[in-house]
Symmetry: C2
Subunit: 268 residues, 2 copies
């Protein structure tokens, strides 16, 4: 990849993925392709962002299908490193952003964001993109990566791309494949809860606690859903808000059966 990179001219747009591509990824890929001379996609299920007991081994993979999809989109380079290539014996360097990584997903998954910032830093150093594309669905990840890039003075523009949803509102995610038909139906409650938050805010409700209570009530009426967290936070710092007096990220992690799903939207 490093050798191929030296031969590229013009602007490089980069989409790092863990594979098992869906329409959400393809939206990133199309943007990267349209806005740059060269589009590079990586497929790498990064072991260091999975905690013990998390779903690394079960993380879905389907490389043949992924490559066919990327070919169809006209992607110029697909970079598929191996775990041992990225983390050889004796590997010992970590990129870690504190603060914003210690709340929400970071609190539930200690070490997760250290794995994310480290692998993204490494991929950026290898691919040397001008722009890198991330989905708004992983809202905290997007902000963590932006913070890492800013703090470390990297010459890379981070572009966020809106979440792609099914017609009925389910956010695209590789983990949706674990859902049964019944669970898939139940999973619509995430989008419904976000919609309630938006509606309440539009009708003049600025009290975050009251909005969260309404969201909680809705989700609790869905028997297959179990709330991990619901957050209404400053859209940049992700510090929790009591009063929505500035742009806020409403985000949540909800277990549907044994599958943990994330979703979010910005209000205000």
């Amino acid at each position: 990849m490093k050798r191929a990179r030296t031969e590229l001219t013009g602007t490089v747009g980069f989409v790092p993925t863990m594979g098992f591509l869906h329409e959400g990824h393809l939206a990133l890929v199309r943007r990267a392709k349209r806005k740059n001379d060269v589009a590079v996609v990586s497929i790498f299920v990064n072991p260091t962002q999975f905690g013990p007991g998390e779903d690394l081994a079960e993380y879905p993979r389907h490389t043949g299908r992924d490559l066919a999809l990327l070919k169809k989109e006209g992607v110029d380079i697909v970079f598929m490193p191996t775990p041992n290539g990225m983390y050889p014996d004796g590997y010992s360097t970590w990129v870690e952003t504190s603060g914003i990584t210690e709340i929400l997903e970071g609190k539930k998954r200690p070490g997760h964001f250290r794995g994310v910032t480290t692998i993204v830093n490494k991929l950026f150093n290898i691919v040397l993109p001008h722009k890198a594309y991330f989905g708004q669905k992983d809202g905290q990840q997007l902000r963590v990566i932006q913070k890492m890039v800013t703090d470390l003075n990297m010459h890379i523009k981070i572009i966020s791309v809106p979440t792609v949803r099914s017609k009925r509102g389910l956010a695209m995610s590789s983990r949706n494949m674990h859902l049964s038909d019944e669970e898939r139906e139940a999973a619509l409650v995430l989008y419904k809860a976000l919609s309630i938050a938006k509606d309440l805010y539009m009708r003049g409700e600025y009290d975050a606690t009251r909005i969260k209570a309404k969201m909680t009530g809705l989700i609790k009426r869905e028997p297959l859903a179990k709330i991990d967290y619901i957050s209404i936070a400053d859209s940049d710092s992700l510090q929790e808000l009591t009063c929505i007096n500035r742009p806020a990220l409403v985000s949540m992690a909800i277990k549907i059966g044994s599958t943990r799903l994330l979703d979010n939207r910005i209000i205000g």
Copy 2:
């Protein structure tokens, strides 16, 4: 600096310094100048590599003189960021290499190498050099930076340059300016101890413990010197050796009065 960088063509050689330049720095600068189309030098006394109670406030500075010296060497760009520019309010990202940073200097100065790897990573991202030059005098730092660059897949070649010494063997260091005439004389004991190690090895002594004992004996006869550590370690991993059966870094930290000096040489 980032803007200036985009206008540079050809290869860029980079020498990061903390200023108060001496002949050791100038050897790095001359090498960078000779081997590249463009030579960039940074001057930045990096606060994050000093521990509490260390000599950040007293670290010597003499920017006017530094700039005159660099101008004379024909350096193309001198980059002098401010502490607040490098670490603005809310700064929270750290680059940390474990293992090799936890011994020798890292053991004596917890957090020191985290500050070093973080600032060097940031400077590399800003300056985007093809090659970066470091002195062999800070032997562990050189290895830590090489490890960081390798682990994070940075496209930068790390070049080590031999230690520059006074005629009588004192290694050039900004901290030498704190030495009185008497202490400067006493400080020659570092080089003498390294020379003894080399001589013993050349005469067939491969037992690291015995060599260290001879070095210790010599240094202890110097009343102004106080041993912080003496190490004979694998030249790559810096793991201590009992038997010198491969290239070894003989290194030491010695206090002369209140000034802590480092020196090293490779044997084997």
